[in-house]
Amino acid sequence: MTTSDMIMYEEEYQRIKTIITKLRTESNAKLVFLVDKNGQQIAAQGDLENLDATSLASLTAGNVAATDGLAKLIGEKEFSILFHEGERDNIHISIVAQRVILVVIFDNRSSLGLVRLRVKKASSELTDVFERVVKKINHERESGRLDVESPFAEITDDDIDNLFTN
């Protein structure tokens, strides 16, 4: 089951943050964030204060999953871009490296054209990073180092019970 687990290391995390920070500045967006296809938030950049980021991540993933289902129904591989237009804010959603969802929220200080342009560039940079992460995980798994480094290798029944006593 755990062979497809996602692990994020400090080095790649910092690189991802740099890329999405740049994307946010260059596209004049309010918020940029990355979610995996299961709805787990990977990184976010921008004005998060008045926003429920966890819900946003989960609903985005649900949205993408439902749209993927629709695509398959009509014989498409995927709809790689989703765009939601609101009165004030708009959401641009795209898939990176087939497994990660890149979300850009922007208002009239930017435009769809600009966002699409900048997203394209950032996507290719992010793809490189995620391919590196996957390689790293596979390499560590093969060399057996992953087991040693797992923070859960030493977990006890008491640790688990303690989680539920609060």
């Binding site: 755990t2 497809s4 299961n38 649900g62 993927d68 640790d159 989680l163």
Partner: protein, 194 residues
């Protein structure tokens, strides 16, 4: 798919409540939400119809505390139980780490339970999982009703692999946290295996 973030020292797991329509999946989640301290939970999202039937999913993020310095978060999801929402159910199983099957104990719902368990097995297979290997707990819900099947009968019909079986009354909270704990424990033990 567990997501371990070494950079922010967080670990996220996905638990899905599965089972026939009107069995109490959303009620389980609602109870967990009501009884959890505000600091440990996020907003509960329900994508439901006007008549409060689950349309796509319910979602509740739960922060359980730290294990070995890693913040442990469980993302709880329910599927829509009604038979015709099967496409949605398949989607929600993506990346699942543990499953709670909420069975309706009423005698007349036994067929629906049986159908739903085999639907779960099929949908898991489509996502590349095997019910025999994935962390799994069976909850016998609505034990307070007068017309319930016996625990033995339900076990015989619904158990798949010696999974933990818990009796519950989700509307009053009996067995709700015990069920969650039983599956969370299995998920964390899986992580331990690496």
């Amino acid at each position: 798919m567990t997501f371990i973030n070494y950079a922010s020292r967080e670990i996220n797991c996905k638990i899905v409540y599965y089972g026939p329509g009107l069995g109490g999946k959303t009620t389980n989640l609602q109870y967990v939400y009501d009884k959890t301290a505000p600091s440990a939970k996020g907003k509960m999202i329900s994508l439901a119809t006007e008549t409060d039937r689950t349309l796509f999913f319910d979602f509740l993020p739960l922060e359980l505390g730290s294990v070995r310095g890693f913040k442990t978060r469980f993302h709880l999801y329910t599927v829509p139980g009604q038979v015709f929402y099967d496409a949605s159910r398949k989607l929600i199983l993506k990346g699942v780490d543990g499953i709670i099957f909420v069975a309706d104990s009423q005698v007349e719902r036994m067929d629906a339970n049986i159908e739903s368990v085999s639907n779960l097995e099929q949908n898991l297979k489509l996502q590349g999982y095997d019910l025999m290997k994935i962390p799994y707990t069976l909850q016998l819900n609505k034990r307070d009703l007068p017309n319930v099947a016996s625990v033995d009968d339900m076990k015989r019909e619904l158990m798949r692999k010696g999974e933990p079986v818990l009796e519950a009354v989700a509307s009053t909270g009996i067995g709700v946290f015990d069920t969650l704990k039983a599956v969370a424990k299995q998920v964390l033990i899986e992580l331990k295996k690496g």
